[in-house]
Symmetry: C2
Subunit: 326 residues, 2 copies
């Protein structure tokens, strides 16, 4: 069962997905039993896409066996339930198995292998966002139990959902207002500022920059931005997307060293399929390491307390030091 | 050092508080060493307020030794920092030590003792929100490490901040729109609906109701609402506030049994001091048990996935069952 409910006060949505409670509990499921390892292809639903070389797959996209949103082609409609609002939980939920290697980290992969994974993300993102009932699309990766992962084998997920979530609406509104006030994309301005100041940069090349953002919510929060303006990740040109691999690998390697392999979430922000304007928003990646717990104050206000400034975090990462308390 | 930075895109604030990194790390600090236990009063800054009986304190309010916001009486002003925005981290951060008993839970306290704690919250909330530079006030309690607590001794915190946080603005806007569309307070409507349906109620008396909210973000999220409309917690009449103790105790006792004492955050939502209208908002308490980790999808979208419906959660709590996986 999957049902979407809308909070009548804040407008936020919640997915009630009771089937997800039966997800595998054994995070450390080792190779002979891991459902994402070669040889266990029957443990997942049939593949949507496989990238094969010499007769073997090296990237595999499958429907999530325990989907948050069930597959459906029709746009679900909000209905009243007493004073409340709900609709069927329809959408898309896919898993990208990034490599056949059970224990690989992204920085262990070659630039070419990472480029292949990004091409697969783009291909699936285009296919999913072309469906008329999909209003927003999120590509994300959870590494480790504290980041919400239920399996260790390297994988990412793509969720296509039938509405725009509150936090996305906020980010889009803010970026649109910034553009209209400054006649400039806020993300382009951030790239220019950070690349110029070099106080919060942790990796950079011709086409990408990895920074500790100025108003980081979490210690060691990291963003990766393309230098060229483009609203949609899925339409970023292939000749440029391949430059992300070295920047992503350097950022993840530095984080893993300084934070002693702390769990993290990695998320893509891209324009919703239905958005007509492309001038005010710039796709990017946000990485959020899990080295402290969110407390009541943050939950209640959305006002975060961060004990390591982004300038200090960049210094620690760039100097191969360990984070305080790690 | 405490500095507030504002994200130029989303408008969210972050507090950079490097001093908080030196907070005690030893969560299980036992009685002879616990800074909140009687006899160790010198381990905290001097008390702001003490409720004494027979020559001994039984509730104590002290400034937070590691404040997120430093004390200051002037309204801090946003300044540009390159393209970014920042201001000094000024405000109020107090700790309420709820009892001299190191290991007590709220449900071990008498109704009278809880009533005293609530009167202290009200007194401090009135004093703090009367300061002209305080735009919002949050009373909250973190129980357990996963909820962000750094000490086990029962305590809560009050933060007064110099601006309205994004999430509060969203909730107020949503509640105002609901009122203007329905000419009725959304929270009053929720109280009426839930009390009538009895599908999501876990404790109730003449003046308070504890429910699993319809669009619960987290499994076993619990709200406690007064039945009488009142925008501000701190002005809720004493003759009625005393009725919260039995409802709060029953809710916490049920949660602790079904979730095997899972960590939780408990937060008060109340109108900001500067808000003129009181018709559209209704103070309440939100309790968020920490039984699963937030994953990338939730972080990126603010769109939550909950695997236990509020109806099922209420059934489990009311029938003395254990939560799935507990």
């Amino acid at each position: 069962m999957s049902e979407i409910r809308k909070d009548i006060i804040s407008g936020r949505y919640v997915i009630l997905a009771s089937n997800r409670i039966s997800r595998p509990n054994d995070y450390n499921l080792a190779p002979p039993k891991c459902p994402f390892c070669p040889g266990n292809e029957r443990e997942t639903p049939p593949a949507i896409l496989e990238i094969r070389k010499n007769g073997k797959w090296h990237i595999r996209v499958v429907p999530n066996k325990f989907p948050a949103l069930l597959t459906g082609e029709k746009k679900p409609v909000l209905k009243r339930d007493g004073i409340h609002l709900k609709m069927p939980g329809k959408g898309v939920h896919e898993v990208v198995i990034e490599t056949p290697k059970h224990d690989a980290q992204m920085y262990d992969m070659t630039d070419g292998e990472i480029h292949e994974v990004f091409k697969v993300y783009q291909e699936r993102a285009k296919a999913i966002s072309s469906k008329s009932h999909i209003k927003y699309l999120m590509i994300f990766k959870n590494r480790g139990r504290h980041a919400g992962a239920s399996l260790v084998h390297p994988h990412s997920q793509i969720i296509g959902m039938p509405m725009l979530p509150v936090r996305v609406v906020n980010e889009l509104n803010g970026a649109r207002e910034y553009y209209d006030a400054h006649l400039s994309c806020a993300f382009c301005d951030i790239v220019r500022e950070e690349s110029g100041r070099q106080k919060r940069v942790i990796a950079e090349n011709k086409h990408f920059i990895a920074i500790e953002p100025y108003a980081a919510r979490f210690s060691f929060e990291t963003w990766i931005l393309p230098k060229r303006h483009e609203g949609r990740f899925e339409f970023f040109p292939e000749t440029k997307i391949k430059y992300i691999a070295p920047v992503l690998k350097e950022a993840l390697r530095k984080l893993d060293y300084s934070l002693n392999k702390a769990d993290f979430n990695l998320l893509f922000h891209t324009l919703p399929p239905g958005e007509k304007r492309e001038d005010f928003f710039h796709w990017h990646i946000e990485i959020m390491p899990k080295i402290s717990y969110m407390a009541g104050f943050e939950w209640g206000t959305g006002f975060y307390i961060n004990t390591v400034s982004p300038e200090k975090a960049a210094w620690i990462l760039n100097n191969g030091s360990r984070a305080p308390g790690i």
